[in-house]
């Protein structure tokens, strides 16, 4: 029975052990999965999952460690816990002498207690470690993270080590490498140095890539648009110039004008003579004009009635005159049905109202007379005028003028005579005046550019200010003075890229001077901490879990070794099969990590033996881990654990982000501050208030000049911190020494008055500490005063503070301390990711920056 019970006990134990090992393996795999993602995701979308994983890891490792501690703790040395019954005389207490109290109460309780302490304790340990890292180490961590991001984006490779590239492009091997490479970069000085040396190039390359992408996407379409407009306008201009030339020639063709004058005058001559001819012919026909109408009943009837009325004796001369007038008017206004006039004109004297002749004859006579009058009136030629007289008369001149004005459409003055040849020449010229100008007006209406004058050659057109203006308008911020319609696109692209700022976020955060920004209160404090955590946590967690597994394995083997060799064998076989063989396979692979890291160590860490050893070992570690990872990646248990721990990243617009923390989390959160308080009693850490504003000054070559942290109170700078970035150098040391006198006598007097009874005060006075300050302190103090004298700067900083923006970057333009100002809301890990992926454009430039330092 007991044997069966012990078998069951062992089996249960083994089962629990197997479960524990599996969970640890799951933890390993999940850690790699999580940290293989980019920094941004780990701290962003996957943050909650990462924290849960971390908690899980701590719980598991905490349990393992607690178990190991309890297992190896010599409880039996405490007399109260041993049962006297079991101890034989003279024998030293052994583990199996423990009394039931110890066995079932103390040991489990202490296990529980230790476990509870370890869970938050591990977190605390990590935090303390992180806080104790120096600024340089934080800088190394940031560099490591940048390198990891770049490596993940396949944007860097290392000369002579194509294996790195192969690994990152192989999806099966990539995750492990990517998750752990920040650690290698952080811990290995050689690698860190390699990255530091090349990071400037890397940063520049990212920047240029981004700028080139931007140019191709935005500027090339704009230049093509410009080209299309330019070509259209050029064609339009050319056609218009040609048309203008033709019109201009026509307008200025004096010879043609002369020909026209001659022709016009000849025609005028002909016309005048034709007039006379017509007149003469009509006159000839006048005597028998419309004689057939003399017999017309209507007319005769009218005539007779008028005549009869006029010839009455009662009608005297006045009355007769009136009748004659009436009849004259009647005949003058006589019209045919179709509207044609009768064609005679009679005055009252011409009317014959008597009966000497027959009415028909009288009418004929009147028609004839009337016709002659009519002709004289309409032609304007008096009856008695002869041809020669006519030619020299003003009437012929008039006829000529009328002809030229009406038929030839020449604008001649009213009293024009034919001897005024100039007026005729001018009238002819005015017909063509403005032809060319009208042509050009048509061009101006259809064109956008509206060139004032025709005749520009292609070269003149291309270099004309209007074209430059068009280019500036179309290209906007992509315009440079060296842009011409002829320059090739690739050449212009090169020129434009060269002219751009190389304000690189990556360079800024990884420059040596940046270390100061990592110090407490600095703008990159949080960034530095996050980077260190990222670099340190994964390998330590993995390492810890492996250690826990191994220790428990040892414990189990010890337990079973002597009692149940059979089970021991079983465990051994399981261990070899489950852990040993995959590891062996990985180590023996052609492209095993350790070969590459060995070679890498040799090249990169030549001076430092520790580094080399570490790097080589790291390779072996990677191999082991890769064996396990590959083997157990898709284990069902692993997947189940994964589903439990990883939650989907929050939706974009989901408001319900509150995830109720589990009980373990609550516990963790309660215990952590308690432990932290205990720890803080031991450690000596200043808590620095965060700065109100951070100023980064970049020199002309865009390298970091200085970082300043400022405290503001309304419109004054109340304090300045200038962390000493030359910390480790001799200069830095000097800067910390207290050399300079603080000439604030009243302050010194005050101190004396208040501390006269303090022997420490007297000691420091003797040592010369009092009244002296270090260079840094001196600078900080003066800087405060100096900055307060720069009203624009303080104003700007207050404004920014109000907007919640605390980072001001000043780029020095030239020797006269003119600066360009950029602002960044906050510096966080997201920016690293974006800078690498070439989409970071968040330096907001402030136009019109009058700030100077």
């Amino acid at each position: 029975m007991k044997a069966a019970f012990s078998h069951v006990k062992i089996l249960v134990l083994l089962g629990l052990f197997a479960l524990y090992v599996c969970l640890e393996l799951a933890l390993n795999v999940l850690l790699i999965d999580m940290y293989a993602n980019s920094f941004e995701l780990v701290l962003g979308d996957y943050k909650l999952s990462a924290e849960r994983l971390e908690l899980f890891g701590r719980t598991l490792s905490g349990f393992g460690l607690a178990l190991s501690c309890v297992a190896f703790f010599p409880f039996h040395t405490i007399p109260a816990l041993t049962s006297a019954k079991l101890i034989k005389e003279g024998e030293a207490p052994q583990p199996h002498h423990l009394n039931p109290l110890a066995k079932w109460c103390v040991r489990p309780l202490s296990l529980l207690l230790l476990w509870l302490i370890f869970v938050p304790g591990l977190r605390l340990a990590v935090d303390i470690k992180v806080d104790q890292t120096t600024n340089e180490q934080k800088l190394s961590a940031v560099r490591a993270v940048v390198y990891k991001e770049a490596y993940l984006a396949q944007a860097v490779s290392i000369e002579n080590f194509p294996e790195f590239d192969e690994i990152v492009s192989d999806p099966k091997r990539r995750d492990l490498m990517v998750a752990l490479i920040p650690s290698l970069a952080f811990f290995s000085n050689g690698f860190d140095q390699l990255i530091a040396n090349n990071l400037s190039d890397v940063a520049n390359n990212f920047m240029l890539n981004r700028q080139e992408d931007d140019f191709i996407q935005n500027a090339i379409p704009l230049t093509r648009e410009f080209d299309a407009t330019y070509e259209t306008e050029w064609q339009r201009y050319q056609t218009a110039t040609a048309a203008y030339e033709v019109a201009y020639q026509k307008e200025n063709d004096h010879y043609a004008r002369e020909q026209e004058r001659v022709a016009v005058l000849k025609e005028g001559n002909d016309f005048v003579n034709r007039v006379w001819q017509r007149y003469a012919e009509e006159l000839n026909k006048a005597s028998s004009y419309r004689e057939e109408y003399a017999a017309n009943e209507t007319i005769r009837g009218q005539f007779r009635s008028v005549r009869d009325k006029a010839m009455k004796s009662s009608c005297r001369s006045a009355c007769e005159k009136s009748y004659r007038e009436a009849f004259a008017q009647y005949l003058n206004e006589l019209k045919f049905e179709d509207g044609e006039g009768f064609g005679i004109y009679l005055t009252e004297e011409d009317v014959i109202l008597n009966k000497i002749f027959k009415s028909k004859t009288t009418l004929e006579m009147m028609f004839s007379r009337g016709r002659k009058n009519y002709l004289a009136r309409s032609y304007g030629i008096p009856e008695e005028m002869l041809y020669e007289e006519y030619l020299t008369s003003g009437i012929a001149q008039d006829h000529l003028r009328q002809y030229l004005v009406d038929t030839k459409e020449l604008a001649l003055p009213d009293n024009w005579q034919v001897d005024d040849m100039q007026a005729l020449i001018d009238a002819i010229a005015s017909k063509y005046e403005g032809l060319a100008a009208r042509e050009w007006q048509r061009y101006l209406e259809s064109s956008e550019l509206d060139f004032a004058e025709p005749g520009l050659t292609r070269l003149q057109f291309a270099t004309h200010p209007k074209i430059t203006q068009l280019a500036q308008q179309k290209l906007g911020r992509y315009y440079l003075a060296s842009f011409t319609p002829g320059i090739s696109e690739s050449r212009y692209k090169t020129l434009w890229l060269d002219s751009q700022d190389n304000l690189s976020f990556i360079r800024m955060i990884t420059s040596t001077a940046a270390t100061t920004a990592f110090s407490s209160g600095g703008s990159m404090f949080e960034l530095g901490r996050d980077a260190v955590k990222l670099a340190v946590i994964p390998p330590l967690s993995i390492f810890a879990s492996l250690v826990a597994v191994i220790m428990l394995f040892i414990k189990i083997s010890r337990y079973l070794a002597f009692k149940k060799p059979g089970y021991m064998l079983l465990v051994l076989v399981a261990a070899i099969g489950g852990l040993g063989i995959p590891t062996y396979n990985a180590l023996m692979q052609d492209n095993a990590y350790h070969e590459m890291t060995t070679r890498f160590a040799r090249q990169v860490s030549q001076e430092n033996q520790h580094d080399q050893a570490f790097t080589t070992l790291f390779g072996y570690f990677l191999d082991i881990e890769s064996g396990l990872y590959e083997r157990y990646q898709n284990l069902k248990l692993v997947r189940q654990v994964r589903n439990q721990i990883f939650i989907a990243p929050p939706e974009q617009n989901s408001e319900d982000v509150t995830h109720t923390p589990g009980p373990l989390r609550h516990l963790d959160n309660r215990l952590y501050p308690l432990l932290a308080w205990v720890a803080s009693l031991q450690l000596d850490q200043d808590v620095v208030k965060p700065f109100d504003a951070n100023i980064t000054v970049l020199k002309q070559d865009l390298n970091v000049g200085a970082y300043l942290g400022l405290y503001l109170n309304k419109n004054t700078v109340t304090g300045v911190e200038m962390p000493n970035f030359m910390n480790d150098t001799d200069l830095g040391l000097l800067a910390e020494q207290k050399y300079f006198y603080q000439p604030e006598w009243h302050k010194m007097a005050y101190e004396f008055v208040n501390n006269a009874d303090d022997h420490e005060y007297w000691l420091s006075l003797a040592q010369g500490e009092l009244g002296k300050e270090s260079l840094i302190d001196n600078l900080e103090r003066r800087m405060s005063v100096y900055l307060n004298q720069k009203p624009h700067l303080v104003e700007l900083l207050n404004q920014l503070k109000g907007q919640g923006v605390s980072n001001l970057i000043l780029v020095k333009l030239n020797e006269q301390s003119h600066y360009r100002c950029f602002v960044l809301p906050a510096i966080d890990a997201n920016m690293i990711y974006q800078s690498v992926r070439s989409s970071f454009t968040d330096f907001q430039e402030l136009a019109d920056c009058k700030v100077s330092i």
């Binding site: 944007a155 001819q277 003469a280 000497i356 050659t457 291309a462």
Partner: protein
């Protein structure tokens, strides 16, 4: 009660008297109307005005020059009595032309220059107390005398002037006011009825009592206030008198020429009528070459042109020998066929090469290990 009078109550004698009068009137009437019918038609029609082709006043009417004259007229040019080819009309040259008096005897065209020159341009300086016509530069820095004093000028010009002639007078600057007043007075005596315009400073002109239209105003930005930059003048166009205009850019109001009038015109505007390209013959005479030459040719060297043209060459008014068919070629027209074009200019003559889409930056950065650490793998 009204009693109507009847007709037959009329007095018989009155009746006869009236009748006689009427008959007499009628007889006369008939005589006039019927007897004076005149046929005014004529066979001999004469023109009201004698139409003859008019040549510009400065064109030669000598019979031996007429064939050339006819050819030149078709190109908007004429030849004067001395054989010099001139533009058909001064107005074709963009601005008014003024003749600079620099030597005696004056050019042949003077005296008949109504259609060509708007007037005369004089640069005067006091030489040994009398005003003389001088030859100088744009700044009036130094001058050389011509020996033509004002009195000689009056005598020479007096008979040659036409009523519309104007004078532009530029005396030496920076002289005392009294001298200018004396000059003005003496010019008034010599040429009383002709319009005179002076080139002086504002204050000098005001002190002389000149109206704003009688002197040329300052032009901002020009080195010499009233005359265009020396760079803009040429051998043919000695001076360009400019005046500020509302748009701000100075406008040229007069061009001063003397011996190279046609060249000055060709520089300023396209006075010569353009012709199309013609197939070249093996031989040309100075007469036949006129109709073929391009518009920027030197028409005063027709013999030389006649020898050059069969070789596909001609002489421009600048004095360069150019290829005939190149003048009509399009690149030539656009300034793109010149010999010494810079690379930039050559690019401008062609369309842009559209090769900007290719990325030429490498995406990947290769981190290099310092050389001292590398081992030969």
């Amino acid at each position: 009660m009204v009693v109507l009078q009847k007709n037959n109550d009329r007095d018989v004698s009155m009746y006869f008297a009236q009748c006689k009068k009427t008959v007499f009137t009628f007889a006369l009437y008939l005589l006039f109307v019927q007897g004076c019918a005149v046929d005014k038609r004529t066979e001999d029609y004469k023109p009201i005005v004698n139409v003859t082709a008019m040549l510009p006043s400065h064109a030669s009417e000598l019979p031996d020059k007429q064939p050339l004259q006819n050819q030149l007229l078709k190109r908007n040019l004429v030849v004067d009595d001395s054989g010099e080819v001139l533009p058909i009309n001064g107005r074709a040259c963009d601005t008014d032309l003024y003749y600079r008096i620099s030597q005696l005897p004056l050019a042949t065209a003077i005296g008949r220059h109504r259609d060509l020159y708007t007037g005369f341009y004089l640069e005067l300086a006091p030489v040994t107390d009398t005003w003389q016509v001088v030859l100088t530069d744009n700044q009036f820095a130094e001058y050389q005398t011509t020996g033509i004093s004002l009195s000689t000028l009056t005598v020479t010009l007096g008979s040659q002037l036409s009523s519309a002639d104007k004078f532009i007078i530029r005396p030496q600057p920076d002289l005392p006011l009294a001298r200018y007043q004396a000059l003005k007075a003496s010019l008034e005596r010599s040429f009383p009825e002709y319009r005179k315009q002076w080139i002086l400073t504002h204050s000098q002109a005001r002190k002389l009592g000149l109206n704003p239209g009688d002197y040329y105003a300052t032009v901002r930005g020009a080195a010499s206030p009233y005359l265009a930059e020396t760079l803009m003048t040429t051998k043919a166009r000695h001076r360009l008198v400019v005046k500020s205009s509302p748009s701000g850019t100075p406008a040229t109001v007069a061009t001063v020429v003397d011996s190279q009038t046609l060249a000055a015109c060709q520089e300023a505007s396209s006075v010569v009528k353009k012709v199309d390209k013609q197939p070249l013959k093996a031989q040309y005479s100075p007469l036949s070459v006129v109709a073929v030459l391009p518009a920027n040719a030197d028409f005063n060297q027709l013999e030389r042109q006649a020898t050059l043209l069969p070789k596909n060459q001609y002489l421009t008014f600048d004095g360069d020998i150019m290829a005939y068919d190149e003048y009509f070629a399009e690149p030539q027209q656009q300034g793109c066929a010149k010999q010494n074009l810079t690379i930039k200019e050559q690019q401008l003559c062609k369309q842009r090469i559209q090769d900007g889409n290719k990325k030429h930056l490498r995406r990947k950065v290769i981190m290099s290990i310092p050389t001292t650490n590398k081992d030969s793998k």
